[in-house]
Amino acid sequence: MYGWIWRTLPGNLVTRGLTALVLAGLVAAVLWYVVFPWIEPRVSLDLTTVGR
């Protein structure tokens, strides 16, 4: 999978490396700002109140 992505990226080593970094950054940003805030209330790992 990653091997295929790497082989599919155009350009020389430097261009591919930078493109791969940007892609990884984009995925991380979508997770951090969209996916995680949506998931977090549904897993409730830090419960603090009593009696519920």
Binding site: W4, W6, L45, T48, V50
Partner: protein
């Protein structure tokens, strides 16, 4: 012995560009079983990285939301005459009005946890309110009043306001700056209880049937850290009330 990292890295990169091995997603390995395992391996590594990133988000990412909400709560308190530093001084005075759910209750200062340990307490302990900061259980006593002033706060996420309340010792100060006065509580004890033990929030803790005669404070958070198995409870009793200047009675 020197490890030829440069050569190893170059060989790895060369392998991926080897025309004989090139193909589609599954083309790298002619055997479909190996190809499937390869994809499964990639997905597992990805899942691991995503979970790690999620943990980082819980610990550090959620705090920025709380910081923003705290700023709003502090502004609300400042408008009501409670300085953000929590220091005693001039204020609006007078009896506190009713506080709506999600509104600011008071500033909480705990010197033992650092000179800059200050949180605005929000009214309500549901999920949405506790993300804003420590929350006051609706229906329990208001600051300084006879009964039990009960607060709850996150231990590890959303700026983790109650992360270190396990460090509190008997006699430590808990300062609560409400609109009308600064209330000074002293820690009397702490213990770990079952999450179902609702008696700790009663006006007289553990004695739900009794009428309160003393002004108490109770802090609750999860325990152990990173778990929701138990609750850590810190108890205190009111020692002093200092009215704000400009109090109109």
């Amino acid at each position: 012995m020197a490890i030829p990292w440069g050569t190893i890295l170059w060989q790895m990169l060369r392998r991926t560009r080897d025309p004989v091995r090139c193909g589609g997603v599954f083309g790298h390995y002619p055997d479909p079983m190996r190809a499937a395992l390869r994809v499964l391996g990639d997905l597992s590594v990805t899942a691991g990285l995503v979970v790690l990133l999620f943990c980082a988000y819980l610990l550090w990412g959620t705090g920025s939301y709380t910081a923003g909400q705290q700023a709003l709560l502090r502004e609300e308190l400042l408008a009501e005459g409670v300085p953000p530093g929590g220091e005693a001084g001039e204020g609006r005075g007078g009896p506190p009005g009713p506080i709506r759910l999600g509104g600011a209750v008071a500033m909480l200062t705990i010197p033992r946890l650092g000179d800059d340990y200050r949180y605005a307490v929000v009214e309500g302990v549901d999920q949405d309110r506790l993300r804003m900061g420590p929350g006051h259980y609706p229906g329990t006593a208001m600051p300084g009043k006879i009964g039990n002033f009960v607060l709850s706060g996150h231990r590890t996420t959303y700026a983790a306001p109650f992360n270190r309340i396990d460090e509190l010792r008997r006699g430590d100060l808990i300062l609560v700056d409400a609109r009308e006065a600064r209330y000074t509580y002293r820690v009397t004890g702490k213990r770990v209880v079952d999450p179902a033990e609702i008696g700790v929030v009663a006006p007289v803790p553990g004695r739900p049937d009794r009428e309160p005669t003393r002004a108490l404070i109770t802090l609750s958070t999860c325990h152990p850290e990173y778990s929701a198995a138990q609750r850590l409870i810190v108890s205190g009793e009111l020692e002093e009330r200092a009215d704000r200047l400009g109090r109109s009675g």
